[in-house]
């Protein structure tokens, strides 16, 4: 079980959280092309390496936040609030 460091509550066990998929996916306006909308809905990188992803502390403070996780090792590199940019970690994505 992962140990996830909620930016608001501190480190908590994974079962308190819900996974929210890849982070920084911008929801386009309603007038974009069909291809752009498709990309927003369905196209993801399936990163092998450092992935920016969303979590919600659903059985805790209830807040969504972002995390950088290395999908090869499950190691977290950073936790940060929604709306803040992806932190520089010096590691390749």
């Amino acid at each position: 079980m992962l140990l996830i460091d909620c930016p608001y509550c501190g480190p908590r066990a994974e079962i308190e959280f819900a996974y929210g998929g890849e982070a920084h996916i911008v929801r386009p306006a309603a007038d974009v092309s069909e291809a752009e909308w498709e990309a927003f809905l369905y196209l993801r990188d399936n990163t092998k390496g450092v992935l920016a992803e969303r979590w919600r502390h659903s059985h805790g403070c209830g807040r969504f936040f972002n995390a950088l996780r290395d999908t090869r090792t499950d190691r977290f590199l950073a936790f940060y609030e929604i709306g803040t940019p992806r932190p520089e970690t010096g590691e390749a994505a």
Partner: protein, 997 residues
């Protein structure tokens, strides 16, 4: 002393406490401290089981958890547990154990004929043989194979014990309580760190419990262990767990331990859990898992009486048991010489030590020589003789270049083998630690790890006792962040063993028929592994799967390195170029009960009870599970079946009034100055113009444009909405709302609160509903004029605060009375009493479904399947045309989402009014179309309608709304297809006159 092989004055058993147990029905006597294996060995008995595939007679190879052969069934009835290692099962009075995989008896087993067929059962046998004829697989091959293969049997009665779970947190978890583990725990514990030390055995000490030679600070190894354990017990910051296996190393240092609490007790306390799983979150982990001696791979190496040299030493020093009278030792390592010396000193004759090394030397070898033990250098064991017990060995010289010469037969009743020691890497590997091959030792050692873990002692290739203790201290200090640790002086010890051997022993002749086992538990031989390589398997992972080596419950503890070496030899590549297979959890098997823990029976999952559950139970309702909720399905009267009860409940609602507990509906309060703006963005509907006190049917789509949930929304105030969701969608809708609010629209001043369980909902439906309710609502005017359909009022009912919705999911005049759930039962009782004179009838979820289907109201999740648009289900009218954006807007504009041949919701009537369609039935264009064909649609809801006196159904049909009046066919599994006609989905009161009454 009972047991002719028991040696008085030796071992850690308690001779003053005799213990009697049964093995295969026979009474066996041992002592407190014995295992089933040690007690049987004390009687001179090695035969304890039959093997997996060939049903070969087998005895214990080891004295611990790595035992592959001596697997037994223990206990009776619901407490029967199969496949336990006899080497670990502690005996107690009344214990009942049985051997496995034999019929009719252990000594004579029919299945052993398989061993004669062994040449016909090579690696990949199953893949190769049972291909044809295809029909034979289910009826002939599989049942036969299942009967012949497999280990043990499953218990048939429910498990009467209970099991516990405990989440623990510590600074340092030490897995393994041998010398390295004890040293690490003491080093960390003395610094004040929170330490957990666990060991799978009944007592701490590990290899020291079988070490009569070493001296630490002048103490015997066992006395030193006792002193260290006593100190650890005094430290309040140290948790000691024996009979507790670390079996799973999860991400972020969460390690699962399995503690066995009662199995060793004859009379456990009544409420004592049988086992407890510890989920330990450790800041740092020290693995002190030790090393396992390797078996040697030679013909007949599985005969009972052939065991690891270290096992014989353990039986001698821990249990006071001599495993035989005359032993042959075959070794490639110095350590076996100490075993030979110890056994000789205890009176066991050592017939010979066959050493694979050309020139064995060193202190131990000299000591053996000095004692007069015959040492045969450069000698292998060609084969072992015997059937139910080894009777002799053929020892043969290995010449220059590896050629094996003519051997000589040596009679013996015990063969001890030592191929050197394999560090236990299982937990390190589970922690996703890398492994590196060590040329000097010829084994893999722990490399870099991802987790915060370090190995200490023999599990990282440190073997000399003084070095092991120093290594343990260093690991404990590093884990706890300290510098000064305890120091002990090892005053006597054996030099660390040199040498070792992996792979199949050299032999004379090709040995086409020789069964030399690599993996005892899965009956995989050296020949099988070689064959796999010859057939083209190059990756060790593929060899593993093809031959099943290392895939048994012991996870290749004793076999992996030998298998690797064989592959390496055949391919002519170095072991590190081949790699090692991944070790899977669990390290040792764990009972299902332990995994289930508290989650069993009624407590498997939360059973959520709605407010009127007690009332419904008292009235004899029949219930159904709806997610975690238990809801009343119908209320049968004497003599009624479900159909009769549901028909009566439906008629009551249509003709008088019905009362229904709708409390499980999800409810969310959306409040704040931007509430209306939020609703506009979230729902497909428009909300700005919805007046206070008004309700509207709301529909939620995902951004994919597909319907996600629905429910009535009431506007309580300009800045406050009372949103309802489906029962199953409550949590999901709230999560989706929070998602968009927090991540897309964080600027909005609006907040969401779940009020599902704040408000109980009493649905009062039927033409007489108003008449029943009006006198109860403390003066509120609920007349048709002042409170029409789709309105809401706040008020009170008998003094209880109330949000009253005039809404209907039945098509009748109806109200949903929302009251605080703590007072709902009292309100329900009042309504119930008031309605008695009007024929008020309780109805359940089944009648609710029938009534809504008669009106053509969809249920999200029943008519929809995650690929339906609002238009598909006839709700296109709800979608706002003017809002600049809402969730799903862009997707709903895509051409494919508006294609004319999309599945559309329709009503379906069977031509025969009494024929019932089944939900899920396909609808096709003609009565007889040869398969395969594609369906025109499928049935989503089907009921018998009491109001119409016939069956009705809803279906999703391609372009359905344009096909009204046309026919389709529903193929049946039994009988001819049913002819159906597509109709409008509103079967009852299409004008809605009753609704607005």
């Amino acid at each position: 002393m009972s047991g002719v092989f028991r040696l008085a004055g030796r071992g850690r058993i308690d001779p003053s406490r005799p213990v009697a147990f049964r093995f295969d029905g026979r009474l066996i006597r041992g002592y407190a401290g014995d295992t089933v294996a040690s007690a049987l060995l004390a009687e001179g008995r090695h035969l304890m089981g039959r093997s997996f595939k060939y049903h070969r007679p087998r005895g214990p190879v080891s004295a611990g958890s790595d035992e592959p052969n001596a697997l037994i069934g223990v206990g009776e009835g619901g407490r029967y547990t199969p496949n336990l290692r006899a080497t670990q099962v502690e005996i107690h009075d009344g214990l009942v154990a049985v051997s496995q995989n034999r019929a009719p008896s252990l000594r004579f087993d029919i299945g052993a004929l398989n061993t004669l067929a062994a040449p016909l059962l090579p690696a990949g046998f199953y893949y190769k043989t049972f291909m044809w004829p295809r029909g034979f697989w289910d009826k002939v091959y599989e049942p036969l194979i299942r009967r012949a293969a497999g280990l043990g049997r499953a218990p048939e009665a429910p498990d009467p014990d209970h099991y516990a779970l405990h989440y623990a947190h510590c600074d340092v978890l030490v897995a393994g309580g041998g010398p390295a583990g004890l040293a690490a725990a003491l080093a960390a514990g003395r610094m004040g760190a929170r330490v957990i030390l666990c060991d799978e055995n009944a007592e701490f000490g590990g290899s020291l419990l079988a070490d009569a030679y070493s001296r630490i600070d002048g103490l015997t190894a066992m006395d030193w262990v006792a002193r260290m354990v006593a100190e650890l017990e005094r430290l309040p910051n140290v948790q000691l767990l024996t009979r507790c296996s670390a079996f799973h190393y999860g991400p972020h240092n969460m390690v699962a331990l399995n503690q066995r609490l009662t199995d060793h007790l004859a009379m456990p306390p009544a409420d004592m859990p049988r086992e407890r799983i510890w989920q330990v979150r450790a800041r740092e982990v020290v693995l002190a898992a030790g090393a396992l001696e390797r078996a040697l791979v030679f013909e007949g190496n599985d005969r009972p009486g052939i065991m690891l040299a270290s096992a014989a030493r353990t039986y001698l020093h821990r249990y006071g048991v001599a495993c035989g009278r005359k032993a042959v030792v075959v070794t490639a390592d110095d350590a076996a010489y100490r075993v030979a010396l110890d056994l000789a000193e205890a009176g066991v004759k050592i017939a010979a030590i066959a050493d694979l090394r050309p020139v064995p030397g060193g202190t131990l070898v000299e000591a053996a020589r000095a004692r007069g033990i015959r040492i045969l250098p450069a000698t292998t064991i060609q084969r072992a003789h015997g059937h139910l017990r080894v009777t002799g060995a053929e020892l043969a010289p290995v010449g220059e270049g590896g050629a094996v010469g003519k051997g000589r037969a040596v009679a013996c009743d015990l063969v001890l083998m030592s191929g050197g020691f394999t560090p236990s890497l299982h937990l390190h590997s589970q922690a996703r630690g890398a492994l590196r091959f060590d040329d000097a030792l010829g084994v893999y050692l722990p490399g870099e790890a991802i987790e915060r873990v370090r190995s200490a002692g023999a599990c990282r290739g440190v073997f000399a006792l003084d070095a092991v203790l120093r290594d343990g201290v260093a690991a404990g200090l590093a884990a706890a962040g300290g510098e000064n640790g305890p120091e002990w002086r090892v005053t006597r010890q054996d030099a660390p063993g040199t040498g070792g051997f992996a792979g199949a022993l050299p032999r004379r002749g090709p040995g086409h028929l020789a069964l030399a086992f690599v993996d005892f538990q899965n009956d995989v031989t050296a020949k099988d592994v070689k064959l796999a390589v010859r057939e083209g398997f190059r990756s060790i992972e593929h060899v593993k799967r093809y031959t099943t080596t290392g895939m048994a419950t012991d996870q290749g503890k004793g076999s992996n390195v030998n298998a690797l070496a064989i592959v390496s030899n055949v391919l002519g590549r170095r072991p590190e170029e081949i790699g090692l297979t991944t070790y899977r959890p669990p390290y040792t098997p764990v009972t299902f009960g332990a995994f289930a823990g508290h989650a069993r029976g009624d407590q498997f999952d939360p059973l959520r009870l709605p407010p009127m559950d007690g009332w419904a139970r008292a009235r004899g309702a029949v219930f159904e599970d709806v997610g975690q909720w238990r809801r009343a399905r119908y209320f049968p009267r004497a003599g009624e079946d479900m159909a009769a009860a549901v028909a009566r409940e439906c008629r009551a609602v249509r003709s008088a009034a019905g009362i229904f507990d709708a409390s499980t509906l999800g409810k969310i309060e959306v409040a704040g100055p931007d509430a209306a703006e939020f609703m506009n963005r979230f729902y497909v509907n428009a909300w700005t113009k919805l007046g206070v006190g008004k309700c509207r049917y709301g529909l939620v789509c995902r951004d994919s444009g597909f319907v996600y949930d629905d429910g009535v929304v009431g506007r309580i105030a300009a800045d406050r909405f009372h949103v309802t969701t489906t029962t199953g969608g409550a949590a999901g809708v709230l999560n989706m709302m929070e998602d968009y609010l927090q991540t897309e629209w964080a600027d909005l001043d609006v907040w969401l609160t779940s009020v599902t369980e704040q408000w109980a909902v009493i649905a009062l439906q039927g033409p007489r509903a108003r008449e029943i309710l009006a006198p109860l609502v403390d003066g509120l005017d609920i007349s048709a004029a002042s409170m029409p359909h789709m309105t809401l009022r706040e008020g009170s009912i008998g003094g209880v605060p109330m949000r009253l919705f005039r809404v209907s999911f039945t098509g009748e005049l109806g109200y949903e009375i929302n009251v605080p759930s703590g007072q709902a039962r009292a309100v329900w009782d009042r309504v119930w009493q008031a309605g008695a004179a009007c024929g008020l009838t309780p109805y359940g979820t089944e009648a609710m479904h029938v009534l809504r289907a008669e009106k053509g109201y969809l249920i999200v999740g029943q008519e929809t399947d995650g690929t339906m648009t609002p238009g598909d289900v006839g709700c296109g009218w709800a979608v706002s045309k003017v809002k600049p954006d809402f969730i799903g807007k862009r997707a709903l504009a895509l051409p494919a989402m508006n294609a004319p041949d999309r599945l559309q919701m329709v009503g379906v009537l069977t031509d025969d009014p009494l024929s019932m369609l089944e939900e899920g039935m396909q609808l096709v264009a003609a009565a007889h179309i040869p398969a395969p064909t594609s369906a025109e649609g499928h049935v989503t809801s089907s009921y018998f309608s009491p109001a119409l006196g016939r069956s009705i159904a809803l279906a999703m049909v391609k372009g359905g709304r344009g096909r009204m009046g046309t026919g389709l066919y529903a193929p049946c599994l039994d009988g001819p297809p049913l002819k159906v006609t597509l109709v409008d989905p509103v079967f009852y009161d299409p004008e809605g006159a009753r609704l607005n009454g």
